[in-house]
């Protein structure tokens, strides 16, 4: 029997909407698990990514932890895919990019009305440091394929994955390629 394709997925600065869209292939999930094994993914809660054929990255890069995870996926995945608007161009989180990070943190945690007295910007050493700007993943690592959409439709993800697994260059036609 042909060995299965190994896929890892993760969500960086994303909303898990792209993962929901993947689940949205519905009954075709049963066909997909005949073709692939899942490595690290929110679907199975494996904590460290191992050697994989394909890495699907949802979300842009907004903090130091995102960079570490993204580089780890790049190292372990033969093919790395930017899935969804945030991974492709920063998406909604990147709409903070024209604002100063300190101004945002101060407004959210210190000066906006209704906060408890003594509220401060969180500073726990376990919290990853936010970056000044949110970046699409291709600004950090080399990316092999892009699947735009917010989220990409389930049919687009299905078409992309089945093309890739079959060894074809993935092509998204009218209706499957969209940025919204």
């Amino acid at each position: 029997m042909k060995s299965k394709v190994k896929i890892a997925t993760t969500s960086l600065a994303g909303c898990f909407g792209c993962h929901m869209s993947l689940l949205d292939i519905d009954l075709r999930l049963l066909d997909l698990v005949q073709l692939v094994d899942f490595d690290r993914s929110p679907i199975n809660d494996i904590k460290r990514v191992g050697a994989c054929d394909v890495g699907l990255i949802e979300g842009g890069v907004c903090n130091a932890e995102n960079i570490e995870i993204l580089r780890d996926y790049r190292k372990h995945c033969k093919i790395l895919v930017a899935v969804g608007a945030c991974a492709v161009n920063g998406g909604l989180p990147a709409q903070r990019n024209h604002l100063d990070l300190r101004d945002i943190l101060e407004e959210v945690y210190q000066t906006s009305p209704g906060l408890a007295p003594g509220s401060a910007i969180p500073n726990d050493p376990e919290l990853p440091l936010p970056l000044n700007k949110v970046h699409p993943i291709h600004e950090i690592v080399r990316v092999d394929y892009f699947v735009p959409g917010c989220p990409p439709p389930a049919d687009a993800l299905w078409k992309f994955l089945t093309d890739l697994i079959a060894g074809r260059t993935p092509v998204l036609g009218h209706g499957l390629l969209h940025y919204d």
Binding site: A82, A85, V88, N89, G90, G91, L92, A94, Q95, N97, H98, K133, H135, P136, H138, E139, V143, Y145, F146, V147, P148, C150, L172, H174, G175, L177, H178, Y179, D180
Partner: protein
């Protein structure tokens, strides 16, 4: 009289540009700053074709008998895709939160040319919006400097509400009023300039997202299959 466009014969009337003749024949040449209602501007360069081996903007080059024009070749579409990628990273084009999504020429042209990523690093510029007008909103984040609003306001509406200011990478759209605000001009929602924007800069207020996804202009068919 006729010329060859991607090997197919296209008739023309002397004085017509390649773009005008192609439009009359129902052929699509990708473009953003051109609109048949207005004088050509020749700035976006999306309509660049190869005329007998030399590059030229289809919206400004006159058609000639027997000329051989390449349009949708891989070479030209590759260059067009690069132009689009530069337009996308220069502004803030977040399609999921844009009211124009689905009706946007920049977006539809990017689909047509299979633009899968922005490729370049984003500028993420800081461009404030102008919500001063009671019926219209200006979101400069999406401006591609096509000057269609400038031409429509000046040549059709006779008002001269818009202009481009600055040079090179600092070029930007401005409103011609002492305050710089749209509310302080005589712009009306019925002006041609109010509906000419190919992207999501000039928007009617209280209209956003009224048309369901699936029924918008470019949901139904790609831009190349629609009337130009």
């Amino acid at each position: 009289m006729s010329f060859l466009l991607d090997g197919e014969e296209v008739p023309f009337i002397p004085g017509q540009t390649i773009m005008e003749a192609a439009r009359a024949a129902g052929k699509y040449i990708p473009h953003l700053c051109w609109d048949h209602e207005f004088a050509p501007h020749g700035s976006c360069k999306l309509c660049t074709v190869k005329v007998d081996g030399r590059f030229g903007a289809a919206c400004t080059v006159a058609a000639h008998e027997g000329m051989n024009v390449d349009n949708r070749s891989a070479e030209l579409d590759d260059k067009r895709r690069t132009l689009l990628q530069m337009l996308f990273v220069e502004g803030n084009h977040f399609c999921p939160s844009c009211e124009k999504s689905g009706d946007c020429k920049l977006q539809a042209t990017a689909y047509e040319l299979k633009m899968m990523s922005p490729h370049f690093d984003h500028f993420f510029p800081d461009r404030p919006v102008d919500a001063s007008h009671p019926e219209l909103l200006l979101d400069f984040n999406r401006c591609i400097l096509c000057e269609l609003c400038v031409r429509a306001s000046r040549d059709t509406d006779g008002k001269n509400v818009f202009a481009l200011s600055g040079r090179g990478i600092k070029t930007h759209l401005i409103v011609n009023s002492p305050s710089g605000r749209l509310a302080d001009t005589d712009m009306a929602a019925t002006d041609r300039a109010a509906s000419v924007c190919p992207v999501g800069v000039i928007l009617r207020k209280r209209r956003g997202f009224k048309v369901a996804i699936g029924n918008r202009t470019y949901d139904k068919a790609p831009i190349s299959e629609q009337p130009q």
